[in-house]
Amino acid sequence: DMKVTQMPRYLIKRMGENVLLECGQDMSHETMYWYRQDPGLGLQLIYISYDVDSNSEGDIPKGYRVSRKKREHFSLILDSAKTNQTSVYFCASSYGGSQDTQYFGPGTRLLVL
């Protein structure tokens, strides 16, 4: 059963705190992605990872960093979170690049106070 998991599902943090969002997939997919979803803005790509330690900025990388030490795990880190980073964050994976089907996780709803 192909699955992308995300932890935690809900998170409340204060401005200035560090945030770690975790994503896992059981499909041995090479490529993984982090998106954020905001009303009226759609899904925006934050980072893309082509494999372990091979990451590239997406459209809105400022304020975020990522880590991929194992093919099945991809982390999104917010160092010193800001209120405008309140959003729903989705992780996705695909077998190859973005022209392959992307499989999405259930999302993490982050509130930064």
Binding site: G42, L43, F90, A92, G97, S98, Y103
Partner: protein, 113 residues
């Protein structure tokens, strides 16, 4: 740069009537991939349709779309809306394998009895 424009905001429909969501794109690449992803409430976004073949109709779950490179369009259609079609629909573009998807802003569809 690349961009995707789709029917904006909220589309309300009566069950049984046809559905059409517009999607147009801009890209300098001659062989883009176009996608429709659907996001049902409390679920993960998932692929509905995709195509890279000019003028070929692609179908899934009663929905269909045809990529027309001459007009840079990939409109989503269904002949008869069902209550279960209520969801957020995203049109997305992939220009090349190594980049992430560019999503439109999303169209929320609400189907009423």
């Amino acid at each position: 740069g690349d961009s995707v424009t789709q029917t904006e905001g909220l589309v309300t429909l009566t069950e049984g009537l046809p559905v059409m969501l517009n999607c147009t794109y801009q890209t300098i690449y001659s062989n883009p991939f176009l996608f429709w992803y659907v996001h049902y409430l409390n679920e993960s976004p998932r692929l509905l349709l995709k195509s890279s073949t000019d003028n070929k109709r692609t179908e899934h779950q009663g929905f269909h779309a045809t990529l027309h490179k001459s007009s840079s369009s990939f409109h989503l259609q269904k002949s008869s809306a069902q209550l279960s079609d209520s969801a957020l629909y995203y049109c997305a573009l992939s220009e090349n394998y190594a980049q992430g998807l560019t999503f439109g802003l999303g169209t929320r569809v609400s189907v009423f009895p």
